[in-house]
């Protein structure tokens, strides 16, 4: 009996081993496919005092990210077909949320923040639960997908001056800028994302994309790249690369940019904030913006014709 038992036992183990081998082969085959598995380059990230290592994020990437962004970072994960907007394609290294000028790579901190914050109006969840070190490792990991990370450094982050106080004048100037810079062409006159060009917008992969609707959402509504006034400032001064949203850094002075921020906040009609308080104190009316005297040289002629300028 004993001999029989051990023979059966041996046979059983053997069968299990063979079966496991076959199963492993069968599973392995479609994964390898025509594409070779990606080598994990020794990329790093630096966020505050943390250093992220790509190698440390291999299993986390597969577990949390690959489902949408794909094993090869090409945004062809198995869920990607169902998503709109599509997941970020890491192989082209173009990123929406940056503190750096248009056309440049984001900083490690920018990517780190995006992972932790998630991307509102998309399927990218808030990954705060992953913990800072894991997120720093993931930032390093997504750099293995594009050679751009080996050839280039991140852009120089834009400088954001201290925010001036919110006043009805600053909101009025912001509104004038919103009109002059034609933000309304896409975002609509009331920021509802329904401007005349909204319907035809496409991203850099020629897929339809919607402009941000400021008016939708409750008190806690967020932007794609954050929820603070600084984030809003960054969004239009750096542009969201890969989307139709351009950079206005060449055409807006820093203080004017703050005025635009203050006005944009009033478009978030359901938000309880400083800007909406100032606006309701002014009985909800934004006065027409009067251009300040531009240069001292022009002052004398202005004196001669009071009320003549527009």
């Amino acid at each position: 009996m004993r001999v029989f038992k051990s023979v059966y036992g041996c046979a059983g183990v053997l069968i299990l081993v063979v079966a496991a081998g076959v199963a492993a082969l069968a599973q392995e085959a479609p994964e390898v496919g025509p594409k070779a598995p990606l080598a994990v380059k020794p990329m790093q990230s630096h966020v505050g005092s943390m250093t992220g290592h790509a190698a440390a994020a291999k299993s986390d990437y597969r577990r949390y990210c690959a489902g949408c962004h794909g094993d090869y970072g090409d945004s062809n994960g198995e869920n990607a077909v169902w998503l709109d907007p599509k997941p970020r394609d890491f192989t082209i290294a173009t990123f929406k949320c940056r503190s750096t000028p248009t056309g440049t790579l984001p900083t490690d901190e920018d990517l780190f923040n995006t992972i932790g914050r998630g991307v509102t109006n998309s399927n990218m969840p808030i990954w705060n639960a992953l913990g800072p070190q894991m997120r720093a490792d993931l930032v390093a990991y997504i750099k293995i997908f594009s050679p751009r990370w080996e050839k280039e450094k991140a852009g120089e982050p834009i400088k954001i001056p201290a925010e001036p106080p919110v006043t009805i004048e600053s909101i009025a100037h912001g509104k004038a800028l919103f009109t002059k810079l034609e933000c309304w062409k896409c975002h609509g006159l009331h920021g509802e994302g329904d401007g005349p060009s909204a319907a035809t917008l496409t991203d850099s992969k020629d897929l339809p994309i919607r402009p941000y609707n400021f008016a939708a959402g409750k008190n806690d509504s967020r932007f794609k790249c954050g929820d603070t006034n600084q984030d809003l400032y960054k969004i239009f001064m750096t542009g969201l690369d890969g989307t139709p949203m351009p950079s206005f850094a060449d055409v807006i002075q820093p203080n004017d940019a703050w005025d635009l921020v203050h006005f944009l906040r009033t478009l978030q009609v359901n938000r309880h904030g400083k800007e909406n308080e100032v606006l309701s104190a002014a009985h909800g009316v934004i006065p027409p913006y009067v251009e300040k005297t531009p240069a001292p040289a022009a002052a004398p002629s202005d004196n001669k014709s009071p009320g003549g300028g527009n």
């Binding site: 192989t91 056309g103 890969g242 351009p246 950079s247 055409v251």
Partner: protein
Amino acid sequence: MKAQYKFALTACALLIVGLGLLFWAPTTRPVSAAATGGITGTIKLDGTPPRQKPIDMSKEPNCAKEHASNPVTTETVVVGPKGGLKWVVVYISEGLDAGTANQVPPVKPKWDQKGCQYIPHVIALDVNQHFEVVNSDPHSHNIHPLPKPNGANHEWNRSQPPGTPPFDQVWAGEEVAIPVKCNVHPWMHGYMAVVKGPTAVSDENGSYTIKDLPPGNYTVSAWQEVYGNQSQKVTVAAGKPATADFTFKAK
């Protein structure tokens, strides 16, 4: 005897200086026009060009008004009255010496946005050649070039409201050609071809002339936005330009 020595010495010195000048001159002075050649030719389309659709600019009243009497169409294939193909970029793809290849033209071409169209529709630029992006319209445009990912050039997207000073821009690497679009006006399409060495873009007769090309054997390429690339070998001699005609087949 002494006078003879003196003469020989002076002659020697003169000879040395003369030879020096002879060797020194061509390397430092820009190549004189007489010593260079060029390539000229005509580009034709064989077959019926695809219909160019009229552009509805009613969403931008300024532009609709500007073109009211002279409606504009798409410009993907523009054939002139004599069958010449316009907007073809002709450039040297092989055979350039380093000096000619790395010489950046001192001119700063203009890429204008006028009447909701790019003027010119296709521009040829040298690597590292500065060019100006201008907005002549009374409304905003966003300039959004889309180079191939992971190359030397990168996608950027800038807003240019009316009255903004020109943007000074430059491309870092060769690329034929970078598509440019304006997201606000989805009908606006143009191309920037970035190549080293002398280039030309064909006119409405399909003719082009590449100038300032040192004599030698070259491969000359022609690129059209719908029909792609063609190339042929050309030998350029000093003085008179060589000929290279191209014919693209309509799809």
